[in-house]
């Protein structure tokens, strides 16, 4: 079983369950690997063959100007693009050693393993408790009511929201402030025990204080989860991520350690973008 990262064609599904995880040249485990990912909306091509690795327990930031395809790529990682009728995806994306677009892979299971937090906080019009309990309930993760309560409390704790809401768990989630709502959505996502969390500009609708809290939370979450975050803000990418990928016009221009990208970009376009020439 070759794990050469340079090959563009990877075996679709690894049948050997206990195959060793792929590792990067630096020895980091690769949680997800995208190879030659192309996305079409009808006749329009949105991604032109992207190769990108997501390292385990790291925060990977996807940056680039609007319409560059970073959100599209993110949504490919848990097949949220399936909900769009005219969208078509080519290429391979592997989660551990499984191709997530293989017909044998179940999208529901995939999304349970790869959770998502959206741009605009979207709590369900239910109580705070029910919002967090929703995932464990549908996946049958709790054996009893006590279990469920423990999971909810723990999730809220991990999302740093518990202290703020512990007395009003029965109140509607839509009544919280924007930042709290977004952390509620993160709590809701981690309550399902995902392996990867995708975040699509999670702070773009928040004020600076709330943003700081969420960023802090992202950093904490990194210990246990693999995180991919799309962001518009250079500073945010610099603050929270260890790896950064720069997208431009549907192409992955450059990727690498965040530090390297920001201080020593190899590509002119990256340079221009970071220095604010366009964006």
């Amino acid at each position: 079983m070759t794990l050469e990262m340079t090959t563009d064609t990877l075996s679709a599904v690894d049948t050997t369950v206990n195959a060793p995880p792929a590792v990067s040249p630096e020895g980091e485990t690769l949680k997800m690997r995208g190879r030659d990912v192309k996305v079409f909306y009808g006749n329009k091509q949105a991604l032109h063959g992207v190769d990108l690795d997501v390292r385990k327990n790291r925060v990977t930031a996807l940056i680039g100007p609007s319409g560059c395809g970073k959100s599209t790529f993110l949504r490919c990682l848990n097949r949220m693009n399936d909900t769009i009728d005219i969208c078509r995806v080519e290429g391979n994306i592997l989660l551990d050693n499984d191709d997530i677009y293989d017909p044998r892979i179940d999208v529901v299971e995939l999304r349970a393993r790869v959770g998502m937090v959206f741009q605009k906080p979207n709590p369900f019009p239910k109580s705070i408790f029910e919002n967090v309990a929703y995932g464990p309930r549908i996946h049958g993760l709790a054996q009893s009511k006590t279990d469920l309560e423990a999971i909810v409390a723990s999730s809220l704790q991990r999302a740093g929201l518990f202290e703020e809401v512990k007395d009003r768990l029965d109140e509607p989630g839509t009544g919280l402030s924007g930042g709290q709502q977004q952390r509620l959505c993160i709590a809701r996502a981690i309550a399902v025990a995902p392996e990867v969390i995708l975040m699509d500009e999670p702070c773009s609708a928040l004020d600076p204080i709330a943003t700081a809290k969420v960023e802090e939370l992202i950093d904490e979450l990194r210990q246990n989860y693999t995180i991919v975050i799309v962001t518009h803000s250079m500073q945010q990418a610099a603050r929270v991520s260890q790896h950064t990928a720069f997208f431009h016009l549907g192409n992955l221009v450059e990727e690498g350690l965040t530090n390297d990208i920001f201080t020593n970009p190899k590509d002119q376009r990256t340079q221009d973008y970071i220095t604010g020439r366009f964006g």
Binding site: E109, R113, A150, I151, S154, A191, E220
Partner: protein, 615 residues
């Protein structure tokens, strides 16, 4: 798998959630749960498909029922009879004064000369419509060239004869016997004798009939027997009570009760005896049915068609049939196999309103080639009538036309004006808000309430004429107004403000901007809404019942103030008539109405598609 340990070690924020091991989603258990969830998903989806399929089934069923029963009513059967329209019978100077009934009857008599006695003649006359004389008169008045000659004229059949010809009265089956036959005569009682046992088919049918009758009777006897037993036990009970009774008054009452029960018992026993005797007779018939039997009106009828005549089977043995010759035979000659036939009429005579003799006569006319199926012009040109074959939808259609004309000429200008005001000029204050709430509520007021309004205000306060399309149109205009206003407002809203600004910018007044620039652009949308509103109004019935448009009106209304009815009300009235021919007319009228509605809606859709513009 050391989450718990990790959890306690790590900080609270950002740690793994307690209680869920990692990799929980890929365990066998999770996969099993997933399977269950997917079957739930499939079930839910199936409910949705089921709901849609059910709705579609309802629609198909409804249309199928209506088209199936309405389609035959679009054609009608006429009999071509040579009629004597010479000057002797019809005075050319005064064609209206002739007795067309006599002319038609004479013509029919000549066609079926053998129907000579009164009884047969009456049967014969009943084959043509009782309104045939009126039709003939009209025909003659319109086309005087018919006069003075004897030529074939198409006379409408009666409604039942028409239904029979369309095959809606009874199913028929014909058998071709494989042996030769001889006949005993040409008229009256005739016996047909076949070489081989050709008539076992008739006997089989008779046998089934007896079987069923015996079963029914046995059931009745059993029930009677039960009631007999219960009366006997009741009497016994009463008698014991009487024996122990001390009070003379009660004893007397009990005695009389016993008397009453005994009398009832006697009656039951008598009836039982009678039924048992009947059963024995039936059983006897049944046992001997292989040898022969007698047919009656409660079982299928059989005709023997031989030598151009028709004999109705009455007494049957396996090789011979005796019966009345409804149509006399041409000769008494023996017939070879294949030249004669047996016809079965499945519906028993007593279950239909068209007798065997009428069937034989009609068949005779059909065989002569004088019956022909034509486009039912009466249905499309006549007004209401008590006679099913003379009733048409033209009167109602014209009434609908007048009503719609009034509705359109009121609701369109008023509705569009109101929409223009509310959308373009109205200040946002309590008044305009009130009007808006009002319009929304009016749209949901039951239509019958509008009818009450029409009755109380238009008829009783304003004294407008009852049953008139004018009033009907006014009521329907008020009813469709909300639809038109709402649609027009939406259409006006869709015109971008830039158009208004452009017009105002070149110095037009607000009114000019609206009337010259906005309104033309909004017109397709307004028209679409109007057509949909008119389609609603065209199908509306209830409010029109309130203002007397349910009257029986024979004349075609010539103006909006003449009494008239409308298509849906006509459908409502016809639906109440018991004659099967009216049921078909109802369905046919529904088809016409639906045709109008569907084409109106289709037109609205085309209009919308054609002129739909997105800014």
């Amino acid at each position: 798998m050391t989450d718990i340990a990790q959890d306690t070690a790590g900080s609270a924020i950002g740690g793994r959630v307690k209680g869920i091991p990692s990799g929980v989603h890929t365990t066998d258990e999770a996969r099993k749960r997933l399977k269950k969830r997917y079957s739930m998903e499939a079930r839910f989806k199936a409910y949705g498909i089921g709901a849609i399929a059910l709705a579609a089934t309802f629609l198909v069923l409804l249309l199928y029922t209506i088209v199936g029963s309405g389609l035959p009513a679009f054609t009608y059967n006429y009999v071509n009879v040579p009629l004597d329209l010479s000057a002797e019978k019809v005075d050319p100077a005064n064609p209206a004064g002739a007795s067309y009934n006599t002319i038609i009857r004479d013509g029919l008599k000549a066609e079926l000369p053998f129907a000579s006695d009164r009884k047969n003649r009456r049967v014969l006359y009943s084959l043509v419509s009782s309104g045939a004389n009126v039709t003939l008169q009209k025909q003659v008045m319109n086309d005087p060239s018919l006069l003075g000659e004897t030529g074939p004229v198409a006379v409408p059949l009666s409604d039942f004869a028409d239904l029979y010809v369309k095959g809606l009265i009874t199913q028929q089956t014909e058998f071709l016997p494989s042996s030769a036959a001889t006949v005993s005569g040409t008229e009256g009682q005739v016996t047909v004798t076949a070489e081989d046992p050709e008539f076992t088919k008739i006997l089989a049918s008779l046998k089934t009939y007896y079987e069923r009758e015996i079963e029914l009777l046995a059931g009745k006897i059993e029930a009677r027997g039960r009631s007999e037993a219960s009366v006997i036990s009741k009497i016994a009970g009463l008698e014991t009570r009487l024996a122990g009774e001390k009070d003379p008054l009660v004893a007397q009452r009990l005695t009389s009760e016993i008397e009453g029960n005994k009398a009832a018992l006697v009656k039951i026993i008598a009836a039982l005896e009678k039924q048992k005797a009947e059963l024995v007779t039936l059983q006897g018939h049944f046992d001997n049915v292989a040898m022969g039997g007698t047919l009656n009106a409660n079982m299928p009828s059989f005709f023997i068609e031989v030598n151009g005549g028709t004999i109705k089977a009455e007494n049957v043995t396996p090789t011979s049939v005796t019966g009345t010759a409804f149509i006399p035979l041409a000769s008494q000659a023996a017939v070879p196999a294949g030249q004669w036939g047996i016809k079965e009429l499945e519906t028993p005579e007593s279950f239909r309103k068209f007798s065997d003799k009428e069937i034989a006569y009609t068949d005779y006319l059909i065989a002569k080639g004088s019956v022909e199926n034509e486009w039912n012009s009466i249905f499309f040109s006549a007004g209401a009538s008590r006679e099913a074959e003379m009733a048409g939808i033209w009167g109602a259609a014209v009434g609908s036309f007048w009503t719609m004309l009034v509705t359109l000429s009121l609701s369109f200008p008023i509705g569009v004006s109101a929409a223009i005001y509310l959308e373009e000029f109205a200040p946002k204050n309590r008044w305009t808000q009130l009007i808006e709430v009002n319009i929304n509520n009016l749209a949901a007021v039951p239509s019958i309430v509008f009818g009450l309004l029409g009755l109380a205000v238009f008829l009783n306060v304003f004294g407008l004429p009852r049953s008139a399309p004018l009033v009907g149109g006014m009521v329907l205009a008020l009813m469709t107004l909300p639809t038109i206003i709402i649609a027009s407002r939406a259409a006006l809203q869709a015109v971008p403000p830039s158009i208004r600004e452009a017009a105002l910018g070149v110095g037009a007044s607000r009114l000019q901007a609206v009337f010259h620039h906005v309104l033309p652009l909004a017109m397709p949308g307004i028209l679409t809404g109007t057509i949909i509103g008119m389609a609603q109004a065209l199908g509306e019935t209830a409010p029109l019942l309130m203002i007397g448009m349910v009257a029986f009106i024979v004349d075609i209304p010539a103006s909006p103030v003449d009494p008239s009815t409308v298509l849906p009300v006509q459908i409502f009235m016809w639906a109440d008539f018991p004659e099967p021919a009216f049921q078909q007319k109802t369905s046919a009228a529904i088809m016409v109405l639906l045709g109008f509605l569907i084409s109106m809606n289709a037109f609205a859709i085309i209009l919308r598609k054609r002129f739909e513009r997105r800014w």
